[in-house]
Symmetry: C2
Subunit: 364 residues, 2 copies
């Protein structure tokens, strides 16, 4: 049970956890080295900016990675809680700091809720920040059962899915899925400073997406990079190699004369194809099923189908008889209902179930 | 007037323009070297997949940049239209191809609607794709008034804002705002292929944003990079320099021993700060005005204000009397109404008008 929670550090993540815990009926105490920040969190309804009189069930240390060990030592020295966890985006170094500094490492388990925003501070906080997200926990050999249980409970009452990982595996993965993407967004955004007046008019959704995270707090991100330097360096070296090859290819195309153009085009296409393959891995998961609808030859016929199938159409091919075969990609869970609905509306629908196609004729 | 339009190339952009033109009552003809693709566009209600019997008012060449000159020459040779434009994301090389190849360069003006999606093909098309977007036109010294007028009309009836630019300036800007961001997204996404099983669980909105555009068609993007190689190379060289410095800094931090750590942290922070500054430039524009609301000292007081001001709160500071000064960032156009509404609800609101603060007391 987590009936009482102390949040140390009322930034975006700490305050969001506090709001979610309050919503679940937990008694929440708030602390921040900047008293005004804790006051703002309190004013948001995240809890009380007071020191608890008795040890709470769980203390959440929500400070930058390089501060976790020191803040945890201080909290354990004054017996602030029965169990302790943190939210740092890096787990190896803070974990080693805790083992080195904290009086009671068994009462601590590392944590990393996989959620964030480009805005920081308590005013950006929301109780829903963790809903549906992964919340990584990194128990060490020293971690006791009570600490793991309390941290798991907190993750669940925030609406997240707790996932246990070795801290080294976690750090290698987030270098790939978070830290290097952040640095790449920063490198891309940095160049925008140099555009002439009017460059803003040529900014579209694409570059806005690529650079959005770069607006995050540079001081916090410097701390993250510092705490996870080795795994980040390994990924960045591979990116640097790719960029060196890409730059050489683009320079070959920019040079007058066709020397090396064929190889350059090949290299650029290969890198873009690798990017497309990787981007597919970043897409939200979900089992999908293909439906195939036959659409008549009259102009506008497909337009009549689309309102019934928002966002689902992925391909259309012409049949020899002048009709179109339209392929719909729908969630497996609702594929049956979607097919039935389309048939009821008069469409000719087939469901691709693996290799077998179970064709159902309809009247349209 | 544009009463009739021929769209050559019924991919995402061509079909979207066709749908918007149909909605505006224009007679639209569709052509594609792949007849089935034109049929799909026709079935979507984008026009008729037929060759017009008489010259149309405007022909839109919606093919990859390296094909524009050839396709335009063919269309002009058979007198398909009175005026011609294109949609290629690069303008210098296609423009030179047109001057070199086309029988009537005066009837052509280059165009580039600043809109796209990560999905391609006619099935991703929508009549609203260009609403509120910039549509760049790049008239040359040879461009005649009729062609410029027709292309301007087409942009406007698609809901876009036409902006005239020199083709060289356009190409330098899009290298910065579109092509290099795309390549950086690809380089970042490419690394995701290497993550161990379970990496997907650690994918959040951040990396999804950074890598989203990398899902775009590698063949089309190879063609774009090829057509704008020199401006892209110039930006990529600067990115490569930054990445080389960043990698050296991260490697210094990853090495055992504190040598060079201070300089490394300084370098990383500087790059991240440049990124944050650049990201600000990618944000949508809009005049904003600051409101300041005074919030009482009781816990949860700020939570009562927030529902009245979605997304607007940017900062809060503690006043010596225990109240909070909450700063709201609201669109200038609606700032007066927002302030009046807050006052009507009993809040103490001040409007920051430049340096002068016009304070209004209220009853709460």
């Amino acid at each position: 049970m987590v009936r009482s929670l102390l949040v140390v550090g009322t930034g975006l993540i700490g305050t969001s956890v506090a709001l979610a815990a309050r919503r679940a009926g937990v008694e929440v105490f708030l602390a921040d080295r900047d008293a005004a920040t804790a006051r703002v969190a309190e004013s948001l309804g995240a809890g009380r900016a007071e020191t608890p009189r008795h040890p709470v069930d769980l203390a959440l240390v929500a400070v930058p990675p390089t501060q976790v060990g020191l803040v945890l030592r201080e909290a354990q020295q004054r017996r602030a809680a029965r169990s302790y966890t943190d939210v740092a985006g890096v787990k190896g170094e803070p974990g080693r700091d805790v083992l080195r500094l904290a009086p009671d490492p068994a009462a601590y388990v590392g944590g990393h809720p996989m959620a964030g925003r480009e805005r920081s501070g308590p005013l950006a906080a929301t109780a829903d920040l963790f809903t549906g997200r992964t919340w990584v926990l990194t128990p060490s050999e020293r971690t006791g059962a009570a600490a793991l249980r309390s941290a798991t409970t907190l993750a669940e009452l925030c609406g997240a899915t707790p996932v246990c990982l070795d801290s080294r595996a976690h750090d290698a993965m987030v270098a790939l899925t978070s830290h290097v993407p952040h640095l790449m967004a920063g490198l891309t955004a940095a160049r925008l400073r140099e555009g002439p007046a009017g460059t803003e008019k040529l900014v579209g959704e694409g570059v806005r997406d690529v650079t959005r995270v770069a607006a995050g707090d540079p001081a916090l991100w410097t701390d993250i990079v510092r705490s996870n330097a080795a795994p980040i360096a390994a990924v960045l070296r591979a990116v640097h190699d790719d960029l060196t090859r890409l730059l050489a290819a683009v320079e070959a195309l920019a040079a007058t004369g066709p020397d090396g153009h064929e190889q350059a085009v090949h290299d650029i296409a290969a890198l873009l194809e690798q990017g497309a393959a990787g981007a597919a891995r970043a897409r939200p998961p979900g089992d999908r099923i293909r439906l195939r609808v036959t659409v008549g030859p009259q102009p506008g016929a497909l337009a009549a189908l689309l309102p019934a199938t928002p966002q689902a159409v992925v391909a259309a091919t012409a049949n020899p008889d002048g009709t179109l075969a339209v392929h719909l990609d729908v969630p497996a869970a609702t594929a049956g209902a979607a097919a039935a609905e389309l048939r009821a509306a008069g469409w000719d629908v087939a469901v691709d179930e693996g290799a077998a196609v179970c064709r159902v004729a309809a009247g349209r």
